[in-house]
Subunit: 148 residues, 4 copies
């Protein structure tokens, strides 16, 4: 019922071309039992003075990674909507690539609760470490309502 | 020490040209004792399937309105950063204009806490009603850290 | 379908005797179109060093006021459960009476979203002012899931 | 500068006798590089109809575990105050013992951000797994302000 990385990327390119289409900055880079990874290649439009990635760009990345982890688990649910989104900004990220690692904390019939860690990736990274708290630049928790 | 609507608009055009510059969708429409109003003229880039305004567009609008209400109160603080942002999505907004009404709940030396109500404006609106809960499409609370 | 102040107080005494029973500190003081008011008469067990009301006591009061405003609107729903609770602590309250003013921001079929303002009451208070931000000691937003 | 498990337990018994004193339900069970563990032995006063642990009891446990992980890292800071507390309730816990595993996501000069996972412990548990999301009954994120 779920989707693998290729299916998820293709679905998001079709549904969110402005985020995942050709030349656009988001990409699915991982789907596995632990969750999903989505990257943002931050460029001019995502930066704030001081060459840091803007808050709304990070919120958009976290929101889309949370949506992706639900799609990966239960397949296309186009009407799923975010009901609650909460984020703590922990450190200023450098410009460049940001990775959002999302995992499901709860997948109920009506509500899904996801945790998302945002970090600047490093060579040799382990594939999934939401708990790499020392290096997170932001941490989000989000609730999606799943249509009946 | 604070800024009025013209000063605030001019400051944001200069600091966030990608949001407030010519042809861009954000605008300061109100600064008074109750807080500030910032609008988003939602267009193609802000929409999701179903012709509703995207969550990240609403989050960006709320974040910027919270920043604006701090600027209006204490003047330019370019290094103020969002530390926490929490939003509840209540109703799907129609495409078109969105208004964010922001007010300060606390303005301390180190932290400012702001409440933001998002709504589609109606003719004859009273100038400021965060509590118009029946009509809010989203409600956000955000904390800014103010540099020493 | 809803409940007035007397019905609500009686229901809460029966369902939460440890909070609303005889000699216990919580009480329903207002039910009207704007929402509900619930008080906590803070005593020894609710205080922290410095003679301030403890955070968990304030969280408990806000949670119960949010539950009360749902009961007031739709009548007894014993299985309603909090799914999300978020609070900002704004000022240290004095020991003594605390008032929680709760209102519904959304009452859907499955989810209710409530806003709660906590304040130390003053003589001559207007009956309901969540937006009296200058005087709030805490502000909470909470989501309840309503059973089908 | 920090505190080990014995020092932390002793400090909390002295500072919060109503929570950690003799016959009271909270206890520090772990302090290590990953964070701290605090337990609540839930009894009558913490239960709700349906024999589940009450929301406020879980919030109180999470708040105190977050405070404990800060004490463990930097030693006694009696004036540290919670500024923001956000919790998602994921599953109803059984009555009995609850464990709160807290870790620091950020320890700045002015703000500390902590993540807390609440779970019912099982025999043979690994010592620390905030990410054991499948088994968490609640997940909290909290911000403490550290006095200058």
């Amino acid at each position: 019922m779920g989707m693998n990385a290729e299916e998820l990327q293709a679905y998001l390119v079709a549904e969110f071309p402005q985020a995942f289409g050709a030349g656009r900055p988001h990409r699915v880079v991982r789907v596995d039992a632990a969750g999903v990874g989505v990257t943002l290649a931050a460029s001019e439009e995502h930066l704030r003075p001081g060459d840091t990635v803007s808050g709304p760009s990070m919120m958009g990345l976290a929101d889309i990674a949370a949506y992706a982890v639900i799609l990966a688990a239960i397949g296309p649910v186009p009407l799923a909507v975010t009901t609650n989104f909460s984020i703590n900004f922990l450190r200023k990220p450098q410009p460049g690539l940001l990775v959002a690692d999302a995992r499901l904390m709860k997948l109920g019939r009506r509500l899904a609760v996801c945790e998302v860690g945002l970090r600047a990736p490093h060579e040799g990274d382990a594939p999934f470490r939401v708990t790499g708290g020392e290096e997170l630049c932001a941490h989000a928790v989000t609730t999606y309502s799943i249509p009946a």
